[in-house]
Every structure is written in structure tokens, then in C-alpha cells.
Symmetry: C3
Subunit: 128 residues, 3 copies
Amino acid sequence: MENATLIVLLALLQYIWFTVCVGLARGKYNVDAPACDGDENFARVFRVQQNTMEQLIVFIPASYAFAWYLSPLWVLATGVAFILGRFLYSAEYTRDPKTRTPGMGLTLATNAVLLVGAFYGLAKAMFF
Amino acid sequence: MENATLIVLLALLQYIWFTVCVGLARGKYNVDAPACDGDENFARVFRVQQNTMEQLIVFIPASYAFAWYLSPLWVLATGVAFILGRFLYSAEYTRDPKTRTPGMGLTLATNAVLLVGAFYGLAKAMFF
Amino acid sequence: MENATLIVLLALLQYIWFTVCVGLARGKYNVDAPACDGDENFARVFRVQQNTMEQLIVFIPASYAFAWYLSPLWVLATGVAFILGRFLYSAEYTRDPKTRTPGMGLTLATNAVLLVGAFYGLAKAMFF
């Protein structure tokens, strides 16, 4: 499971970076905790981090299941696609939330491939 | 761990469905990103997805620990209870948040059973 | 992986406690679902739970990777530091969000140690 772990750790590193950006944005746009809104620019940075968390909760277990039951090699490809998709999403979203579709689409497509692949490999392991 | 993985993948599939519902609700109720409030009906759909994520972060690792240290069979039962509880919660919450108690209770009870069972099995593995 | 699982289950127990606190705070400060703001004291309790979830998504997979690839013993130390850091954060944040830095710092430092250690152990396993 080395490849799956490598991908997961890299995605977590990226996520920590997005979290640090939220902290910096609190200072830059004067949004004091516990508030999470009030400034449109802060809200964008915050939503990038929140949305990444929403996607990681699928990505992490699905990557391990995909690597275990289907392919410990191809999990590298979906992992790279996920991480690139998240950087794209972050760049789009902080510029203009209306342009976030490609980055979001790449993330959703990656998670869909991971889930379908994991289901397929799991079905083979359980029933054949 | 096939059973635990099967249950986790099914719960993730349901969660992705709740996420898609948030995207559709943005269009239906005219809530543009990065806003996550402003319309009561949108807020309900959004909270169903958010609350499911809040519960999944317990459910996923607890299901694997329960299956590994206690019972790879009974994890199917808790898994089905969790997923049904989430559909119930979603139906209740989008109709009227005040009626969400049964669905929420079923979810919390399931996670409590998973945690207690995992602790019990782990204690047996570590100390006996 | 008994030690990693023990730590993860304890951290989840603490997180469930923070979640219960949010439910109690809804009643105490009259914040009806789906609202998640409107009262500063409620918002603080809510943010403690949300922030703990944001950190758990790193802590859980990083603890397992750290225990597997580097040290199944030292994962106990990072685990205790994480849980103490979260209790500290909760106490600070509900009193005054401006004083939350030590608890947040301890959490971030713990996750950083876990990630760096896991990367190091993984690199040794993959390339040496």
C-alpha cells in the first residue's frame, strides 16, 4: 500500500497548505474567529479548504480500497489527478467562484473512478 | 475486511449523492458560491451533507476497527443501520429540521455501538 | 496497529463529546437548526467541533501511516499530544477565541510530526 499512502500523504500536505491559507486570510481580511464569513475574499479561501475536506473524506478511504482491490499502480494516476484538480479548483475559486467547474469536475471524476474501481475490485474479491 | 470496505464504499456513495444535492440546491434556490446560507431550504440540504461528513469521520475508522478487532460480520448490520439512518435524517431534515431526531439518533447509536465494540475488541487483543 | 487504533478511537470519543456539546449549545443559546450562527457563544462551541473534524482528517490517516512505516510506539506520544491539544483548544476557544493559539499550535505541530515521520518512514520503505 506504499503508493496509496504516498498519494494520501501528499493530498494531506496540500490540505494543510489550504488550512494555513485560511489562517492567513483571517489576518488579511480581518475576519476574527469564530466568524467564517463577512468578507467575500475570506469566504472563498475558507470554502476551498472546506470543500477539499469534503472531498478528502471520499478520496482517502477510496484510494486505499482501490489500491488494495484493484490496482496499486493506477492509484498513483488518480492521486495526481486529484491533487492537480484541487490546485486548479483553488486558483479558480479564489479568482472567481463561477469559474470553479473544471477543478471541481476533475475532483469529482477522480473520486468517481476510485469508487467504481474499488467496487469492481471488491466484487471480484468477494464473489469470484 | 471485505465487509467493512463494502459498507464504507456504500456510505461514501450515499454521501456523494448528498453532495450532488447541495450542488443542485445552489441552482434551485439561487445560492451562489461561496455563500452557504441565505435560503432556509438550501441550508437544510447543505446541513444534511455537512452533518453526514461529521458522522463519516467517526463511522469509517470505527467500522474498520470494529470489523478487525470484534466482528467482520456484524459490521454489515451497523453499516446498514448507518445508511438507513442517514436517508431518514435527510428526509426528516429537508421536510422540517425539528423532526430530525430519529435519524440523528440512529446515526449516533450506530457510531456508539461501533466505538464501544471496537474498544472492547481492541482491549481483548491488547491485554488478554 | 493496536496503538494507532487505540489513539484514533480515543480521539473519536473526544470528537463525539465535542459534537454532543454542539447539540447542547443549540438548546442553551436558542440556535435552531439549520442555523449555525447568530449567537457568538454557540459559534465558539460549533467551531471547536468543526476545527477538530478539520484536524482529524489529517490525524487519523497520518497516525496509521506513522505507526506502520515509522514507529508503532511513538504514535502513542503524538496521540496524547493531539488529544490534550484539542482539550486545551476547546477550553481556550470557548473562553476567548483570541487565546486559542497554544491549543491550535499543539494540534498543528502534532499533525506536522506525524506527516513528516510518515513521509520519512515511507521513503525508507519505498526506496531503501
